[in-house]
Symmetry: C2
Subunit: 352 residues, 2 copies
């Protein structure tokens, strides 16, 4: 039976939420990933050092690494949900002072910029991209080598939002050539093409944008559990994403953008955006890369590239995947995953 081992898999874009949801979903990521870049779009967003450290503490608690309750820790370990897992923390972009940034630089892996109102809990994001207003913060980030992570969408027509944002990437990449800018969860050929135009532009790609296009969301039945922002685009966009992911392109990293919503919020009359993939991401990646004869490039996509781009040394973890069918649960504590109830072709055999 075909096996494939990954070292230190990393999820470079993850939503863990807070409270009960955090308790439910964090162990699903810490089980199979060495670390994850944790998004700061809580309510209110993470904008202070104390909020950041508190949130990190709650994440470590939820992943059984920092608990007061030893019995629960043991239980998690027994169920295979223990293990080392590093939450790489991010701040929600504001025009921060250099003093503040110096103070938090060691605690964060980057700062996440949301255009205002563009997705879940992003209301207090950037309303206009005025370089004069943003320059002090972005220059300080550049000096302090703090990467800028960007949700790159305008408020235009849903199929054009990402492509329209390319001029802003262009402007930022040119104005701050030493600032590492990560185009998060890219979905278009336009964004893929940007990678070769600016040395300081990088990208994360989700597993769902590699597997689906708009046809899968609304081409047959309408599928709320495949509805996400940015929305899946055209087949030629999907092909461009697949091409750079499967080759393990050095500027491209895996970031699940796994976004848990309670089932009722996904299946109501107006459903919330977000696909939940964290517990099945590695299995799906193994299946996809295997079917494209690209398993040898998966290590780069899912860990090595991110280690180089972010200069990080993640916790040791060895995940052995095996080509054995796995029936995806209908839900994880009330959160419906992608492919709920369906059978996928690869499983996790072992985590060390």
């Amino acid at each position: 039976m075909k096996q494939h081992t990954l070292l230190m898999p990393l999820d470079m874009h993850l939503h863990l939420r807070d409270g009960v949801m955090l308790e439910n979903v964090a162990p699903l990521s810490s089980y199979s990933f060495s670390g994850a870049v944790v998004m700061p779009n809580l309510v209110p967003p993470v904008t202070t050092k104390i909020a950041l450290l508190d949130y990190k503490h709650r994440i470590l608690n939820a992943t059984g690494q920092n608990r007061y309750d030893d019995d629960f820790d043991d239980l998690l370990e027994e169920e295979g949900f223990g293990g080392d897992f590093e939450p790489f923390m991010t701040l929600f972009y504001n025009n921060y002072s250099k003093e503040f940034l110096e103070e938090v630089a060691d605690e964060i892996i980057g700062i996440k910029l949301y255009p205002a109102g563009i997705t879940t809990n992003s209301e207090s994001g950037v309303a206009s991209f005025d370089l004069n207003e943003m320059r002090p913060t972005l220059e300080a980030m550049s000096d302090l080598e703090i990467p800028l992570l960007v949700h790159g969408e305008t408020d235009g027509f849903v199929m054009d939002r990402e492509a329209e944002f390319m001029s802003i990437y262009e402007m930022l990449a040119t104005a701050f050539p030493k600032l590492k800018i990560i185009m998060e969860h890219i979905t278009t050929k336009a964004a893929v093409d940007m990678l070769s135009l600016h040395d300081n532009l990088y990208a994360t790609i989700t597993i769902h944008h590699l597997l689906i296009n708009l046809d899968d969301v609304v081409g047959g039945m309408m599928k709320p559990h495949l509805f996400c922002k940015p929305i899946a685009k055209r087949p030629e966009d999907q092909a461009a994403l697949l091409s750079v992911a499967l080759e393990g392109h050095p500027k491209v990293m895996f970031g699940s953008d796994s976004a848990p919503h309670p089932q009722h919020a996904k299946e109501a009359c107006g459903c919330a955006a977000g696909v939940f993939t964290a517990p099945i991401a590695l299995q799906l990646l193994a299946e996809l890369f295997d079917e494209n004869d690209a398993l040898d490039n998966l290590q780069a996509f899912v860990s090595d590239n991110a280690q180089v781009i972010y200069s990080i040394c993640p916790e040791f973890k060895e995940v052995t995947l095996v080509q054995e069918e796995f029936k995806v649960p209908e839900n994880y504590s009330g959160v419906v995953p992608m492919f709920a109830g369906e059978t996928i072709k690869w499983s996790i055999e072992n985590v060390d």
Copy 2:
């Protein structure tokens, strides 16, 4: 208070379904419309004269014009759901013989062609557009002056399906210049542009495709009750549809494509395609045309053009609309309409 009177409004594309659903929705159309072109995609589809006449009988029953139960008729009248209403019947396209077509010609207003599998209950539609196979039927239809009504979509990418179908319209319109071809529920600028290229091409347009584009379906929250086939397209497509509808373009007719589904089938994990607008279509049209200073052209769009194109003389009906707010019910017998629970600006004041 602003008023506007419409004479003999017609819905040139309507789904009435069958059984209990038919009983529930037919009176909602017969109340305010003089007649409607009834789609034949039942299970099984309407392909024989006896099925056609039986279905027409059930529709007349459901609209209180042919009942054995006089008490129920009286009740409907009291509630304002009586009145004359003509169901213009259609057959589901097959390669019929001329003999058969001669036999049914007087009973139908046209024949509806579905590409196989393209929408609800269309599995037995046309699998390939082979002119040699279709020629005898289409020539007979042309001779007998039976219009061809077409659901014009390929099985391609969801945003391209209608535009890709234009070459088939081109082929049909050229090969059968005397055959009236109705491009049903058009959603693109590409289809609008076809109207000026071939004398024998006409179109119906829904109210929802005049009011929404893909942004409204998946641009914010995902809206299952705005999900339909063909899916709403780009803003420039919506603008092209609006332009010909608002000018009362003589080749363009109103057809609601109102398609009732039980609420559970719209709000499940994979939701069915179809927007239910029959009971609010005229009110929405009045609001839209009024806001665009085009009320004077509504009569052409909603009746006169269809009378000329199809050479029909509908039952007399006078519908007076008034600019008075109307709160759309949350559902009609379990069918959720467009704008459920929202307030629209025009109401029906009176039907004579």
